[in-house]
């Protein structure tokens, strides 16, 4: 079952679309689930399908098409590191190596305590600040250096 909070959010989203086009809200619905649970299980997709009156497979198509949906648990905080051209030229490999040494996880993995997960990301559209990573797809962090990463992780540890 979708939580009352998610249902509220989807209902608010649905106001943007014609009543017979409820499936337009599918991307938002998936996002609301991920915001609340950290990832999207197939059961959640089935619930969304039922809520929006669309085929389950159509929800699954959308969820698997877009990279920013987590289809398995990715820890409390998901760090997504951009590895596209600009970031790579500016040293994203070092960012990944530093995060791996610090957290002991590679791409697609979660720390043993479930706090952090790391994913490989696509261009975040802010190449002037390369190398980049995002926190939970919401907060963009640029010009990453080991010191800056330490600082970010320290803040995240506190919260």
């Amino acid at each position: 079952m979708l939580s009352a909070n998610i249902q509220d959010q989807i209902n608010r989203e649905l106001k943007k679309y014609p009543v017979d086009q409820k499936q337009s809200a599918v991307m938002s619905a998936l996002r609301f689930v991920q915001d609340e649970k950290g990832w999207i299980a197939t059961d959640d997709m089935a619930d969304i399908a039922a809520f929006l009156g669309m085929p389950q497979m159509a929800v699954y198509e959308v969820a698997t098409f877009y990279h920013m949906y987590n289809l398995k648990p990715m820890g409390k905080t998901t760090l997504t590191v951009c590895t596209n051209l600009s970031c790579t030229l500016c040293g994203s490999a070092d960012t990944v190596a530093y995060l791996t040494s610090k957290l002991g996880i590679g791409f697609g993995e979660v720390t043993a305590d479930g706090k952090y997960g790391m994913r490989e990301g696509e261009c975040m559209g802010a190449c002037k600040d390369a190398p980049l990573m995002t926190i939970n797809n919401k907060k963009l962090c640029g010009r990453l250096t080991p010191a800056k990463i330490d600082q970010i992780l320290a803040e995240l540890d506190k919260s």
């Binding site: 997709m45 089935a46 085929p55 389950q56 497979m57 699954y60 198509e61 698997t64 098409f65």
Partner: protein, 776 residues
């Protein structure tokens, strides 16, 4: 109309049509995979790239609208270079396993690769591998690596079957066709995806590795199951049917067939096939020669005629029998002086017999369903009873038609339903009366006196308003309405509604020869000798029964009455393709040929007579039933039984009978009293509807063939103190069976849905009536 030039040929084509359409008109072939005339355009395979003058690059013919004066080259250097390039890309990931691929020899990709592919690949890297998925018992996805992602199967689900069961997950290199979390594809039309797949990614599970396509002989045939009369191509190898695929007939089945039409052939090769005539002597079945068996039948019939009178002999046939068989059966019966012949086995209201103007039919050509703008569908398990008619109605609804449903069970029709009235079976005529009254008022016509007193409910008013607002409506009666104990009242009300609404009135025919049976005269009225209806023959048991294809406990409206009559009869003669429970009560079993082994005719619900030839020789000593009946006629000295061919039988019978749904001389009745207690709602599950499909092994493993459960509305379950999943004892006519209870909130209050036509429920009573449910 606009003019366009394709490869130098001038073609006139409709504005808004595509270059591909115009090319078809001009007879120019453009290679393609994802394009299909019945599906939406997706333009994702890019194989149909052509050169259009003044366009800077090649354009996909399937998605490019034709414009006046357009000049298209399909074989120019630019076009061929583009097509070859696409072909090379498509072959990058396609495995070179044609020698072991089921599609080999009938593969679009293979054919097009012959024309446009290189003789070697420049690609030396690893090919992608896609894991097989489990999507049910009918379609194999074991070699999904072969998929070229044309998405025809996905679009078929969305647009034709009405439910998107397959989809394309992930993207780019990782894109895969799959179902949601390995759920099975349960559409009753799913097999068409196998035909649609241009490569060997979706293959037929029952057929896999049985034969190579070039070893097969292809014979045209007609489906013996539902009343559409879908055209089939029966593929045979070594005198055995190994596969059935769709044959195109735009006016009947378009290019689709239902899974029942496609996979029921497995029943033809069933171990239960009856292959030798048998006589029961001293409680033991012994195999005999045909001459001895027929002699035995003739002697038995003659003895009974003398001792008890011809009236004591009765004949029952399924509506899946051919027109010729039905004609000869009734001719034989009338020849020996008995009018007791009927093929309407599941019908329970015979009060209109002799009062109909003609054979009840669809009231319009099948193809006209697509053009209706309003539907009132009364008492129909539409999707399961008429998969292809449901598909046509679905297309009409997509174009804006309104579907109104009146039934005891709110099954998902996979289309938008505008209004529905879900009521218990006994209330069905009452709601129709409400609609009639509301529509009379709406149309400012005189309200018929019989319905003047009814109170119009909101649902009936909404249905009436919907019908009144349309121009080309259709009021259709389904199997449930035709089997209803008040079927004639329902028909009378429906006809008046149709007349008021200016709509066509029709019956969704129950089976392949529901119209043909009437035209063949296989009914107890209208002939020289009047007789008893199917129900009367059981109510007043006869001394002898001749059963043509009938399994009484599964095919009849009241299995209890049927079995009682069979068990008490002095002689029962079964003409059957299969061994069945007749082995317990019959005296003679005569092996007859199923539809692939005989010639014959089916007259579908629109009155279209379609004759077919046998595809293979009869199995063992089985013989076409028309030949068996002919010899019986000769042995019984009935004149006019000297037919050389089934065509001669057909021509004597005459296929051009009168079709009419009008009933003369019967008046509407007032409201009926609702009986106390739970009412039975009996569907005949799609894969339990006739003897052949009951023995189709793969179909019997699907969800639609699951053992029947006792379905009740959750409020009814609560009243009985039951939960979904509890074992319950269902009792009707003094016999109980144990079933599992299941909640189904689509059912009307006061009803229990217990399927008929299945061995698990075959000892229960009539398909309609009261029934009790209690904790087991």
């Amino acid at each position: 109309m606009i003019n366009i030039e394709i490869d130098g040929k001038l073609v006139e084509t409709q504005r808004g049509s595509t270059v591909m359409d115009a090319a078809h008109k001009a007879g120019v072939y453009i290679p393609h995979f994802c394009y299909h005339k019945k599906l939406s355009i997706s333009a994702n395979c890019r194989m149909c790239l052509v050169e259009v003058e003044k366009a800077p690059k090649p354009l996909p013919a399937c998605a490019t609208p034709a414009a006046d004066g357009m000049k298209v080259h399909t074989h120019s250097e630019m076009a061929v270079k583009a097509q070859k390039g696409v072909m090379e890309f498509l072959l990058i990931n396609h495995p070179l396993d044609c020698p072991i691929c089921d599609q080999g020899g009938e593969c679009q990709l293979q054919d097009v690769a012959m024309g446009y592919g290189g003789n070697a690949s420049r690609y030396t890297e690893e090919k992608r591998v896609v894991e097989p998925k489990q999507i049910g018992e009918l379609i194999s996805t074991n070699e999904m690596s072969r998929c070229i992602q044309c998405t025809r199967c996905v679009r078929f689900g969305q647009e034709i079957a009405g439910l998107m069961e397959l989809g394309m997950a992930n993207r780019s290199e990782h894109a895969q066709i799959m179902s949601f979390v390995n759920s099975s594809v349960d559409s009753e039309l799913s097999g068409n995806m196998i035909d649609l797949c241009p490569v060997g990614a979706l293959t037929s599970k029952p057929f896999r590795y049985t034969a190579r396509s070039w070893e097969l002989s292809r014979r045209k045939s007609v489906s013996p199951h539902d009343s559409v009369g879908a055209n089939l191509a029966v593929h045979t190898k070594d005198n055995k049917v190994v596969r059935v695929v769709a044959a195109e007939n735009e006016e009947v089945n378009e290019c689709w067939i239902s899974d029942k039409d496609r996979f029921s052939y497995e029943g033809l090769n069933s171990a239960e096939r009856l292959t030798r005539p048998m006589i029961k002597q001293g409680g033991q079945w012994i195999e005999v020669e045909w001459a001895a068996a027929l002699e035995y039948v003739a002697n038995g019939v003659n003895q009974l005629r003398r001792s008890a009178g011809s009236d004591q002999i009765a004949a029952l046939a399924t509506p899946n029998s051919t027109f010729e068989e039905l004609y000869l059966l009734q001719k034989l019966m009338r020849g020996i002086g008995s009018g007791n012949v009927d093929f309407r086995l599941r019908q329970s209201d015979f009060s209109a017999d002799g009062k109909q103007d003609g054979a009840p039919w669809l009231g319009m050509p099948v193809a006209e369903l697509n053009t209706r703008d309003r539907f009132l569908i009364v008492g129909s398990f539409l999707r399961k009873d008429h998969p292809l008619l449901a598909q046509r109605i679905r297309q009409a609804v997509k174009l804006g038609a309104q579907a109104n449903i009146m039934h005891a069970s709110d099954d998902d029709l996979l289309m938008t339903v505008t209004n529905k009235a879900i009521v218990a079976p006994a209330d069905l005529p009452g709601v129709l009366a409400q609609v009639l009254k509301a529509l009379s008022i709406e149309k400012q016509a005189a309200v018929p006196a019989e319905v003047a007193d009814v109170t119009v409910g909101t649902e009936a008013a909404a249905i009436a308003a919907s019908l009144a607002s349309g121009k080309d409506g259709a009021v259709l009666l389904g199997n449930f309405a035709q089997q209803h104990p008040e079927a004639v009242q329902i028909a009378l009300l429906a006809e008046q509604i149709a007349v008021l609404a200016g709509a066509k009135f029709g019956y969704l025919g129950g089976a392949a020869n529901s119209v043909g049976g009437y035209l063949a005269g296989a009914v107890p009225f209208g002939g020289a000798v009047q007789g008893m209806s199917a129900a009367a023959m059981l109510a007043k048991p006869r001394k002898a029964y001749i059963l043509l294809n009938v399994e009484p406990e599964l095919d009849m409206a009241d299995p209890q009455a049927a079995m009682k009559a069979m068990n008490s009869a002095d002689m029962v003669v079964c003409l059957s393709a299969f061994k069945h429970t007749g082995m317990d009560y019959a005296d003679v079993m005569l092996p007859i040929a199923p539809f692939t082994e005989t010639s014959g005719t089916f007259i579908n619900t629109e009155g279209r007579a379609q004759s077919f030839k046998g595809a293979v020789k009869p199995l063992g000593d089985a013989r076409p039933a028309w030949k068996v009946l002919r010899v019986l006629g000769n042995l019984l000295d009935v004149p006019g039984f000297d037919f050389d061919t089934s065509e001669a039988v057909r021509d004597e019978a005459g296929i051009a009978g009168n079709l009419s749904n009008h009933i003369e001389g019967l008046a509407l009745k007032g409201a009926a009293v609702t009986p106390a207690g739970l009412q039975r709602v009996a569907d005949v599950p799609i894969y339990a509807a006739d003897a052949l499909v009951r023995r189709a092994t793969a179909l019997q493993k699907t969800h639609d063939a699951a053992t029947p459960v006792a379905m009740l509305h959750s409020s009814e379950l609560q009243k009985l103190g039951l939960n979904s999943g509890d074992a319950v004892r269902v009792t009707q006519g003094g016999v109980s069976v144990q079933l599992t209870a299941a909640a189904n909130d689509g059912l009307a209050a006061g009803t229990v849905r217990v399927a008929a036509g299945h061995p698990a429920t075959a000892t229960l009573g009539a398909m309609f009536g009261t029934i009790t449910v209690e904790r087991a």
